[in-house]
């Protein structure tokens, strides 16, 4: 590139560069979105593994099991307010409450009162509904916006005195015919009027009685539901109490540095395995979040700023008066180089994510303060694939950086059962089995 560019030449270069930066921004956005989903999936797996760990720490609701859980975790509140005594008290309360309901006539005589077809209330309601139905039929059939007026003016009777020269005379006539058409069993409006007024008077009585009976049934059914609910609570009481204690333990362990109880958990190999899995998943989540922060999020703002800057410059140097301007091409070259770096960081993020998410070799981990899970995760990838991605130092991760500062000469000790496989894989990949991290492969991570 020439050392100087004309105004129009600069604009052309800046436009091309702007497009490249826009693509980088889109890629960063896409990866950030994917990262959120991946992190959520890892968190969910970590929660599941914590649930499994806690279930193994407290497998049942007994004094011995609770004492063991306290000894393993150091969580004393588990034993406070003796949960077994509390459960017995709850059982007594539920049992007493159910006994009370059993004495209630509405529950005790539930079949006698509300059995389908034969219950006393059921039958009474059915009978009343039978009387109610024809009345409701008349009331509903005669429903018309002019019905009340027709009754008031005595339409169909000798007292009706609206003269034929008034429009309302014809409207009354039309409404009367429309109502009779809906209730063909009445030949005249006078006949309908008589039955309608009687129905209007009687239906109120039936409605009141039916309402009373239905309320009585609803109340009885509510008592039955309450009893059933208490019965369910009673049958599930041991599991509910156990779950409540496990939930407390979960909260406690989630806020705890698991390393603090690592030694105790290691006494039981099955517990140790579950604890390693939980710790490993926590580490994976943490590493993924930090990878996203340092390799994606931190690039976003400068990329956006550069796009805005380029927009301003494109506008400025597109003006005719700047056509003859001489502008240093070095700036374009610098910006292009910077964009390449952002893209490389995005690629590094993808590689890190791939390595982090693929990891499931929890058994080889260690619940120890001086243990770097990052090494295990990256070495496990190498063990599996016989190769590294480049730049997997992970120095942008706080924990990794601290560890390397504290242990400058540290070398990851590969598990014994990896050596043979590693040697063979390294030989076939044509790389050494030392801890060199400079090997860059083009393994597809998409």
């Amino acid at each position: 590139m020439k050392p100087f560019l004309s105004g129009s030449g600069y604009v052309q270069e800046a436009r091309a560069l702007r497009n490249q930066y826009s693509e980088t921004l889109s890629e960063l956005d896409k990866l950030s979105q994917e990262n959120k989903q991946t992190a959520a999936a890892l968190t969910s797996r970590a929660n599941e593994s914590l649930t499994e760990l806690v279930a193994a720490i407290l497998p049942e609701l007994s004094a011995a099991a609770i004492a063991r859980a306290v000894q393993l975790t150091g969580y004393l509140p588990l034993q406070q307010n003796d949960p077994l005594v509390a459960m017995d008290k709850m059982r007594e309360t539920l049992t007493a409450s159910m006994a009370n309901i059993e004495q209630d006539r509405r529950y005790r005589d539930r079949l006698l009162l509300r059995a389908p077809r034969i219950g006393m209330l059921t039958r009474e309601i059915a009978e009343l509904e039978e009387f109610h139905a024809p009345l409701a039929e008349i009331i509903e059939g005669a429903a018309h916006p002019r019905m009340e007026r027709l009754l008031q003016v005595g339409y169909g009777t000798s007292s009706y005195d609206v003269p034929f020269w008034r429009m309302s005379y014809y409207q009354d006539w039309k409404a009367g015919d429309e109502i009779l058409a809906k209730l063909p069993k009445f030949k005249t409006f006078a006949a309908l009027r008589e039955d309608y007024l009687a129905a209007q008077r009687d239906i109120g009585v039936y409605n009141n009685k039916l309402g009373q009976l239905r309320r009585e049934v609803a109340l009885g059914e509510a008592i039955e539901r309450e009893y059933a609910e208490k019965q369910k609570q009673l049958s599930e009481l041991p599991m509910t109490c156990l779950q409540r204690l496990r939930d407390q333990l979960c909260s406690y362990i989630r806020d705890l540095d698991l390393v603090a109880i690592g030694d105790r958990l290691a006494q039981d190999p099955s517990l140790e395995m579950l604890a390693k899995r939980y710790l490993g998943l926590q580490k994976q989540t943490e590493y993924l979040q930090q990878s996203s922060k340092h390799l994606l999020e931190n690039s976003r703002a400068p990329v956006q700023q550069t796009i805005a800057q380029l927009d301003r410059e494109i506008q400025k140097y597109s003006r005719p008066k700047n056509a003859g301007a001489k502008l240093p091409s070095e700036r374009i070259a610098q910006l292009r180089l910077r964009n390449t770096k952002y893209q490389q960081q995005a690629t590094r993020y993808q590689q890190s994510r791939h390595v982090i998410v693929e990891f499931d070799d929890y058994d080889h981990g260690c619940i120890d303060d001086d243990y770097l899970w990052w090494d295990l995760i990256t070495e496990s990838y190498r063990h599996r694939h016989g190769q590294y991605y480049g730049h997997m130092h992970g120095s942008y991760i706080d924990e990794v950086s601290d560890f390397r500062t504290r242990h400058p000469d540290h070398h990851f000790q590969r598990p014994d059962d990896w050596h043979d496989a590693d040697d063979a894989a390294a030989a076939s990949a044509g790389i050494g089995t030392d801890d060199s991290r400079d090997v860059l492969t083009s393994h597809d991570v998409s």
């Binding site: 020269w165 429009m167 309302s168 409207q171 039309k174």
Partner: protein, 121 residues
């Protein structure tokens, strides 16, 4: 023609009524100055020789000031005696053109029946 209640103006209502009355053979004079004793008002449509007509009462035409309850009472007195027949329609009572037209036809049938009875006596 299809009219909605909101469209039923004095002019439309009167046009429908005039059509119905004319079809029945009446010679309608619009805004006829009726003067029968104390009854003094301009009828929307009236056949002076047959003494049959219509009055479409609307607020728009200021009918509510002119057609007072006492005037109606006087008119109804004459109609009861068969001296004249005026179809009285309040705009608020009309839902559609068809309804107005049907009512007018029924009114005219009634008038015809009464006139026939009078002639038979």
């Amino acid at each position: 023609m299809h009219y909605h209640k909101a469209d039923m103006t004095e002019a439309i209502g009167c046009a429908i009524l005039k059509e119905c009355f004319s079809q029945a053979g009446f010679h309608i004079v619009e805004n006829y100055p009726l003067a029968e004793g104390v009854i003094q008002f301009s009828v929307d449509g009236y056949d002076p020789s047959a003494k049959v007509g219509y009055e479409f009462v609307t607020t728009e035409a200021g009918d509510r000031q002119e057609i007072t309850p006492s005037l109606i009472a006087e008119l109804e007195g004459k109609m009861k005696k068969g001296e004249l027949y005026i179809f009285l329609i309040d705009e608020q009572e009309v839902a559609s053109a068809a309804e107005l037209s049907d009512a007018a036809k029924h009114f005219l049938e009634k008038v015809q029946q009464l006139r026939n009875q009078e002639q038979g006596r």
